[in-house]
Amino acid sequence: MKRARFFLRYLGQHRLSYSLGILFIIATNWLTVTIPLHIQAGVDLLTLGTEELKAHQTELYGHLWQIFWLALVIIVVRSLSRILFFNPGRAIEFEVKNELFTKLVHLQKNYYDHNTTGSVISRVQNDITGLRLLCGFVLMQFFNILTALSFTPYKMWTISPSLTLYAVIPIALVFLAVRMGMKVVVQYSEGRQGLLQSISSYIVASLTGMDVIKGYHLTRWTTDRFEETNQAFLQASLKISFVRSFLIPILNNLENILKVMILTLGGWTVIQGEMTIGGLTAFMAYGALLTLPLTGLGWISTLYQQAMVGVESIETILKQETPHLARPALTQPPAELFAQGLRVKNLSYTYPNSQEPVLKGVSFYLRPGESLGVLGQIGSGKTTLVNCLNHYLEVQPGQVFLSGHDISQIPLEALRKTIKTVTQDVFLFSDSLQNNIAFGVEQLTPKALERVIYESALEEEIERFPAGVETLVGEKGIMLSGGQKQRISLARALVEPAPLLILDNVLSAVDYATERFLLEQILQRRACQSLLIVSHRVQALERCDQILVLHEGQIVDQGTHSELLTRPGFYQQTWQLQQGKENE
C-alpha cells in the first residue's frame, strides 16, 4: 500500500498525459473491434452471388473505405496513446533518478561504509528500469488489455453468444498451461542465474590465482572443476530451453486453436443457418484480436512484480535520512565562523565497529591566522583527527568548536566552506584538468587558474600535456603520477580562499625541492587565514607556529619547532633522521 503511494505521487504529476492516453487507448480498441464488422458485412455481400453483388457494389466499397480509413485513424490514435504513456514513464524515471542522485550526494560516510558503489549504481540503473516500465509500458498494457478484453468478447457475443462461450475453454486452458510453465521457467531461471554467478566467481578466482595454478601444475585440476560447474550450468540451461521451446509456441498457436474451433463449431451453426459466412469470418478476426492481449496478460504481472522489487530497492535509498540537512542555518555569515578560531576539547573517537579508541582526549586551540603542524607515525591517528575536524566522521557533540559553535550543529555546507581539506587520497574526475581544478567553485577566471597552477607547481607539466589545461585526466584521460595528482588536488583547494586549510599528508609523493616550493606558496596563505598541516616529515612542519606530536591517538608533545628540537623525543629523532636525507 505504501509502495502504491510512492507511485501515485509520480503518476499524479502526469495525470493529464495519462488521462488522454487512456482515452486514446479506449478509442484505439473501439475502432479496432469495428473493423471485423465491416469485414462481416463485406463477406456477406460477397456470398450473395454475382447478380446480387453487382447491385450492392457501392455498399461493398463503402465498407472497404470504412476499413481503410479506420486503419489510418487507428495508426494515429494508437501512436498517440503509446506516446502519452511512454513519455511520462521516461519523465518519472528522470525525476526519480535526479531525486536519487540528490539524496546520494548528501548521504554520509556510514551509508557508503555499508553499500558498495556497484550495488548503488545497479539500483539507480537497473531497479529504475522496472519503475519506468511500470509507469509506461505496464500501465498502458493494463488499460489496453482491460479494454481489448472487454470490447472484443462483447462484439463476439453479439455475433454468437454460444460460440463465444465455447471460445473461453481453449483460452482458459492455454492460459493455465502458460502460467504454470512460466512458473517453472522462473524457478529454473533462478537456479541457472545462481550457477552463472558461481561460474563468474570461479573464473575470477582462477584468473587471480593464475600464478599459483600454473606454478603448481594445477591447470588440469582447475579446468576439471570449471567443467563441472559448466556442465551443471548447461543442464540447467537445457531444462529452461526445453520448457520454453514447448511453452512459447502454445501461445502462438492459440489463434490456430481458436480457428479450428470456430471453423468447426461455427461452421455447424452456418450450416444450421444460424450464422452467415461473414459472421464466421468476423468471429475468426476477433479470435485473432484476442490472442495479443492474452499474451500480454502473462507478462504484465511478472513485470509488475519485478518493478515492485525495484521500487522497494530504490526506496531504501530515498528513505535514508539526512539529518544534517535539517540543521538550523547560522545567524552569522559563514565567513565569521572562524572569527574565534577552532577549539578542540578532549576529543576522543572510536570507529563504529571497534572498541579501541583511535583518538584519546586530544585538546588544542588554533587561533585565526595561526598555523598548526601535526607530526605522527603512520597509525597514530592523524587522518582520523583531520576527518573529525572537517566532520567527515560523526563527532559526538561537545568536543570540537568553531568560534563557540559545536561543529556537530553547524550546517555542513557552511562548515566545509570554512574548513577546506586536501586529503591524502586524490580523486580526479574524467574531465579536463581545468575543470578538475575548478571543481569546488562555480566560476574560475583564467587569471585565477594561472595563479593556482603556479602556486601548485604544475606549470611545467601542463606545458608538456597535449592539450594544456584542457587535457583530459582521470580514468579516461592521461595517466598521472602520484605527485601530479597531489598537486592537482592542492590546486583545487587553493582556488578559493577558506578560513582554515587542512593539508593531510599531501606532499608525500613530490620531491624535496618541489615540496619546499609548495610549502612556501602555502605558507604565504593567500588561500587561507589558518593552516593545519599533517605530515610525517619534519620539513613540512618546521615553520608552523605550533606543532603537535601525536602518538597512539594522544598528544605526547607540543611546541614550536625550536622548542621541540631541544628536548629528546620522537620529534627530535625524526628531525635527525630526515636531515641526512634532505641533504642527499
Binding site: R90, S241, I277, A288, G379
Partner: protein
C-alpha cells in the same frame, strides 16, 4: 561479411560434435512448413466445400484434420527450437571450457594490460549473448523465411492475381518500416550514449563522494548530473515517438492491405476467378506474411549481436599463450644465483623498473631486499620465478641462463611466497599439498608443523579438512600466510622467494609468522622482500633499493654504521602500517 562468415565457421566447429540435433531440427522443418500451409488450405476447403455443400460429417472430418495439423505443427515447431538450442548450448559450453583453458595459459603481462572484468565478460555475458541471439535470431529467421516463401507459393497457387495485390503492398510497408527504424536507431544510439555518460558520471561521483562533500560541491555535481540525465530524457522522448509510430504503422498496414485484398477479391469473385473461401483464406494468411517484415530487422540485429560477441571471444582466443620453453637442462638442486647488470621494464614503452642490478647468492645464504614501494624489489622476485621474462643482462642459476630453463623445472627448485596469498576454495590439506606427487597427508602435516601452522589448524573443528571459503575469507590474513608458507615448504624447494606481507595481523599469528620465517631462514636459501626488522637483521646481505637501483648494500651492522638511506627506511618499517 567475409569476416562474419569466418566467425560463423569457427562456431560451426564447436557445433560439429553435436550435429545430430541439428539434423533432427532440419528434419522437423518440412512438417512444420506443411502445417503452416495446410492451415489456410483447409480453411479454404471448409468454407468452399463443406459449408457450401452443408456437409456436416465432412465438416467434422475437416475440423478434426485441421486440429491434427495444428497440433503436429506446434509439436514440430517446439521440437525444432529445442533441438537447435540444444546443439547450440552444447557448443557454447564446449567453447567456454576451451576459452577458460586458454585463459589459464596466457602470460601475466596480458592481465596487466587487460582488466579482468573484460576477460570475464568474454566467458559469461558474451557467451550468453551468443546463446540468446542464436536462439532468437538465426532460428526464427531461417524458418520464418521458409514458411513465408511456402505461403506465397500457396497463395499464388490459389490466386496469383490476388497475390499480386499483396506483392504491391509489401514493399511499401517494408520501406515505411525501414525508414522509421532508421530514425529510431539514431535516437536510440543517442539515448544510449547519453545514458552511458550519465552512468559513468554517477559512478565517478560515488567514487569521489568524500571529496564532493569536503568541497561542499553537492549542488554543483547534482546540477551537472541533471543536465546529463536530461539529455537522456530528450533522446528518449524522440525515440518513443518513432517507436510508437513504428509499432502502430505495422499493425495498421495489415488492415489497409486487408481492405485492398477484399476490394480486389470482390472483383475476382465477380469475374468468377476465385471462390469466397479463397478470399477468406487470403485474409487469414495476411498476418503471417507480415511477420517476417516485422521481425526481420530485429532478427538481423540479434545476429549482429551474436557476431560481435563471437568476435570478442575470437580475439581472446587469438591472444598468444605463454611460451613454454623446450625442456631445457634439468636442475638438480640449487647451488648459486647470479644477477649481472640486469635491467627490466614491464612494457617497451614504460620506464625501466630495474637498472643495473648485480648480486650473487650462494646456497644457504639469505638476501634481503629493502626499499620504498615501487623501488623494484618485488620485480626481482618476479624475474627469478619467471612470472615475467624479457630482462636485459644475465640472470644465471647454477651457471645456466634463466631464459634457457623451463618454468617447470625451475619451479621445482624455486618457490615464490607471495604477498597476497591465493587460496583455493578447498580443504586446508588441499591448499597445502596441491595434489603434488609425493605429498600425502603426512607430508602436509609435517609442512604445517614446520611453519607452526599446525597449532591453529588443530584448533579448527574440521582440522585439515576445513574448507576455505572465498579465497580465505574464513581465515585470518595471518593464517592464510601460514598456509602459503606450508604450501611452499611441502614442495621441498631449496630457494625460497619471500615477499613479506605488509598488512597487519593479530599479535598471536604475527608471532607464529615470525617463528616460521626464522625457521625458513635457518634451513633454506632465501631472497626476501623484507618489511620486518627481524627478517632484515638475520640476512647475510641487504640490498637497499631506490628507483630501480641498488644504492646501498651490506649487512645490517655495516649499513647502520653508514647511516644513509637504509637507516631512514628502517624507521618507517618498524612502525605498524595501515592508517585508520
Amino acid at each position: 561479411m567475409n569476416k562474419d562468415l569466418q566467425l560463423l565457421k569457427k562456431f560451426f566447429r564447436y557445433l560439429r560434435p553435436h550435429r545430430i540435433w541439428i539434423y533432427f531440427a532440419l528434419a522437423a522443418i518440412p512438417f512444420s512448413t506443411a502445417s503452416a500451409l495446410l492451415i489456410p488450405w483447409m480453411t479454404v476447403r471448409i468454407v468452399d466445400v463443406n459449408l457450401a455443400a452443408k456437409d456436416l460429417p465432412g465438416l467434422y472430418l475437416s475440423g478434426g484434420l485441421l486440429l491434427l495439423v495444428v497440433v503436429v505443427g506446434y509439436g514440430m515447431d517446439a521440437f525444432y527450437t529445442y533441438s537447435l538450442q540444444r546443439s547450440g548450448q552444447y557448443a557454447i559450453a564446449d567453447m567456454k571450457t576451451e576459452l577458460f583453458t586458454h585463459c589459464l595459459t596466457l602470460p601475466r603481462s596480458y592481465f596487466d594490460h587487460n582488466p579482468m572484468g573484460g576477460t570475464l565478460s568474454r566467458m559469461t555475458s558474451d557467451m550468453e549473448a551468443i546463446g540468446e541471439s542464436l536462439a532468437m535470431g538465426v532460428l526464427s529467421l531461417f524458418t520464418d523465411l521458409i514458411k513465408t516463401l511456402a505461403l506465397f507459393a500457396l497463395l499464388a497457387y490459389l490466386s496469383w492475381k490476388l497475390t499480386l495485390v499483396i506483392m504491391v503492398a509489401l514493399p511499401l510497408v517494408y520501406f515505411l518500416v525501414s525508414f522509421l527504424r532508421k530514425r529510431l536507431r539514431t535516437y536510440f544510439n543517442q539515448s544510449r550514449s547519453a545514458l552511458a555518460e550519465a552512468t559513468s558520471y554517477l559512478t565517478e561521483c560515488l567514487n569521489g563522494i568524500k571529496m564532493i562533500q569536503l568541497f561542499a560541491a553537492e549542488n554543483k555535481v547534482t546540477r551537472i548530473f541533471k543536465g546529463k540525465n536530461n539529455q537522456f530524457l530528450q533522446a528518449q522522448r524522440h525515440s518513443n515517438i518513432y517507436d510508437a509510430v513504428l509499432f502502430s504503422t505495422i499493425e495498421g498496414m495489415t488492415s489497409v492491405t486487408l481492405a485492398l485484398v477484399i476490394w480486389q477479391g470482390a472483383e475476382l469473385i465477380l469475374a468468377g476467378a476465385i471462390t469466397i473461401g479463397v478470399l477468406i483464406g487470403f485474409m487469414q494468411t495476411l498476418n503471417k506474411i507480415f511477420i517476417p517484415i516485422r521481425e526481420f530487422a530485429q532478427q538481423i540485429a540479434m545476429i549482429q549481436r551474436a557476431l560481435s560477441a563471437l568476435e570478442h571471444i575470437e580475439q581472446l582466443f587469438n591472444e598468444p599463450s605463454e611460451k613454454e620453453e623446450r625442456q631445457g637442462p634439468k636442475l638438480t638442486g640449487f647451488a648459486e644465483l647470479r644477477f649481472n647488470q640486469v635491467g627490466f621494464a614491464y612494457s617497451e614503452s614504460a620506464d625501466p623498473v630495474l637498472k643495473e642490478i648485480s648480486f650473487h647468492l650462494k646456497k644457504g645464504q639469505k638476501l634481503a631486499l629493502v626499499g620504498a614501494t615501487g623501488s623494484g624489489k618485488s620485480t626481482i622476485l618476479r624475474l627469478i620465478s619467471k612470472t615475467y621474462g624479457g630482462y636485459e643482462g644475465q640472470i644465471q642459476l647454477n651457471g645456466r641462463e634463466l631464459k634457457d630453463l623451463s618454468k617447470t623445472s625451475l619451479l621445482r627448485c624455486v618457490s615464490l611466497m607471495q604477498q597476497d596469498v591465493y587460496l583455493f576454495n578447498e580443504s586446508l590439506a588441499f591448499n597445502i599439498g596441491l595434489e603434488r606427487p609425493g605429498i600425502g597427508q603426512k607430508e602436509i602435516e609435517e609442512a604445517a608443523a614446520f611453519v607452526y601452522a599446525d597449532r591453529f589448524i588443530q584448533n579448527i573443528p574440521a582440522g585439515y579438512q576445513h574448507k576455505v571459503m572465498d579465497n580465505g575469507r574464513n581465515l585470518s590474513a595471518g593464517q592464510a600466510q601460514l598456509i602459503s608458507f606450508a604450501r611452499t615448504i611441502a614442495g621441498h624447494s631449496e630457494l625460497i622467494l619471500l615477499d613479506e606481507a605488509t598488512s597487519n595481523v593479530d599479535s598471536v599469528t604475527e608471532n607464529l609468522i615470525q617463528l616460521a620465517i626464522e625457521k625458513i631462514f635457518q634451513e633454506k636459501t632465501v631472497i626476501a622482500v623484507a618489511h620486518r626488522l627481524s627478517t632484515i637483521t638475520k640476512s647475510d646481505l641487504i640490498l637497499v633499493m631506490k628507483q630501480g637501483r641498488i644504492i646501498e648494500r651490506g649487512t645490517h651492522e655495516s649499513l647502520t654504521e653508514q647511516g644513509g638511506y637504509y637507516l631512514e627506511l628502517l624507521k618507517e618499517l618498524e612502525k605498524p602500517k595501515q592508517e585508520a
